[in-house]
Symmetry: C2
Subunit: 303 residues, 2 copies
């Protein structure tokens, strides 16, 4: 089952060196989620072959322009491209006021339902769940109310082992119980053991998105043990003073967070305009944490 | 004296085929003006080597997203790039409400003065003038309040003919009078004739911007005799019904307007996403008007 992240933008505040403001696509088994939507996101989607009308849910971390200024353009283009399916939008409460004001003055009525869910930057909250994935928003520490997002695959039931089942004359009603790990007994007293007839489903995977934030705060409990952690690394550690002042993180700190929460892999991003070359940010993180990669635009990362 | 237009975006509503939403730079003798500011304008400026902090005046025609959604990002980037000089912004009154709402929630205070001048979509108005150029806003006919903009070079004084002046023992106070075409007489009764000692300045040039609009309306009086007319040509004429419904123009109509107002040259633009190839739009306009060009992104057009 596919679970991948496509980087659309890895730049911090201003676009530079062909790097764009923040946006990411998450493809979970062909459910398409967009996380943040900086200016130019609709062009990046088109460049990397993502049909915007396949996006079902959009998650906005905070109201700094480099994380959401592409949103109204994207919503309008979806409308022009004939979208009719519901679109769920999650973000800080004032986001809908900003959108509505712009739709009002452009005299635009969306043909589809835009369903807005305000996020809470004060406490972790489950914000979306279906039968395969669960999304949690959790507080980050930045200059304005900000949340990160964690995407957890839901534990699937055990799988029947076909070769062991097919010669048995077992009532099919037993299948779902066996998948849930329960043994069954038929009227003849024959016992069917879940342990023998099924195998466990793969371990559920998880992805967490942390941008923008000062490193180390309450949010580390929200991202414990994630498989893939995207953590902003706006600066290198010689700029720690600036990171503290602007409530951002350094590459070294991103790696320390990854280590602290037991993440399997770390993805760096939200690079400052001062860095044309990114390898030094990678090398700095590697001092603390081995499984680290630079997020690069147009590249898919498996969770 | 330079008077040129750089096309940053020539697409209508949605970006497609590497075409971007509307934005143009006007360089008048190194005074840099921006006309409209669709999403991605700051990236286009950077791509074509225009320093955004050199822009002194921004003119927004109307509040459809493809004409202004790049503005808040540009204003923010100017701030991050250390702008301190005043910035004058002209556009429909609600524009400042939209900007202020977004600055408020991003907790951004601009370090420079943003001076907003609301435009009037009901009547032609002189909105800016200095000693070399004059800018007029005039009503267009679109679905929301919209203005076009006309840029008129101000007639310069006559120029002294140095070779004819230098051997004369003429009081220098006469120079400015001669330049204004006035003859002068000194105390000896010697007459200095402006016609002999000066030559006329070049004929002032003019540029008009008409997007978005239905063709033919009161605005034709505002663009009489312009040297270069940018007129939207969203559709080809077989789509005239759609042009009427959406209050846009066809390529043929743009040419008819250019002819009607006695423009010297016509620049087409604001092409619909339905046209991958633009040559047919050019050819259609040429049926009516010879001096017509396609506006292409990254290309400078002399006025």
């Amino acid at each position: 089952m596919k679970f991948e992240v496509l980087i659309l933008g890895n730049s911090s505040a201003t676009p530079i060196f062909e790097r764009h403001p923040t946006a990411q696509i998450i493809n979970f088994n062909e459910q398409i989620f967009l996380v943040d939507c900086g200016e130019g996101t609709q062009m990046q989607l088109s460049r990397f072959g993502i049909k915007s009308n396949k996006i079902s849910h959009i998650f906005i971390s905070h109201l700094h322009g480099d994380h959401y200024l592409g949103l109204v353009g994207l919503l309008s283009s979806m409308n022009l491209h004939g979208r009719y399916s519901d679109l769920h939008l999650y973000g800080p409460a004032p986001l809908i006021e900003i959108i509505n004001l712009q739709l009002k003055y452009s005299e635009t009525t969306l043909q589809y339902n835009l369903i807005f869910h305000p996020t809470n930057s004060e406490a972790e909250e489950l914000i979306f769940e279906n039968n395969s994935i669960r999304v949690t928003a959790f507080p980050l520490k930045h200059r304005v109310p900000t949340t990160g997002f964690r995407f957890d695959e839901i534990q699937r039931p055990r799988a029947l082992i076909r070769e062991r089942i097919e010669h048995l004359n077992m009532p099919t009603v037993f299948f779902s119980r066996l998948k849930r790990g329960m043994d069954c007994v038929d009227l003849d007293g024959t016992v069917y053991r879940a342990e023998e007839l099924t195998k466990p489903a793969p371990v559920p995977r998880s992805y967490a998105y942390c941008s923008d934030t000062r490193a180390f705060d309450a949010y580390v409990s929200s991202i414990q043990g994630v498989d893939l952690l995207y953590h902003e690394s706006t600066f290198m550690h010689d700029m720690i003073g600036r990171a503290i002042d602007t409530l951002h993180s350094t590459s070294l700190e991103a790696a320390q967070v990854a280590k602290q929460v037991g993440a399997k892999r770390l993805l760096l991003g939200h690079y400052s305009a001062r860095y044309r070359e990114l390898i030094p940010l990678l090398e700095e993180a590697q001092l603390e944490f081995v499984n680290v990669e630079l997020s690069l635009e147009g590249k898919w990362y498996k969770v």
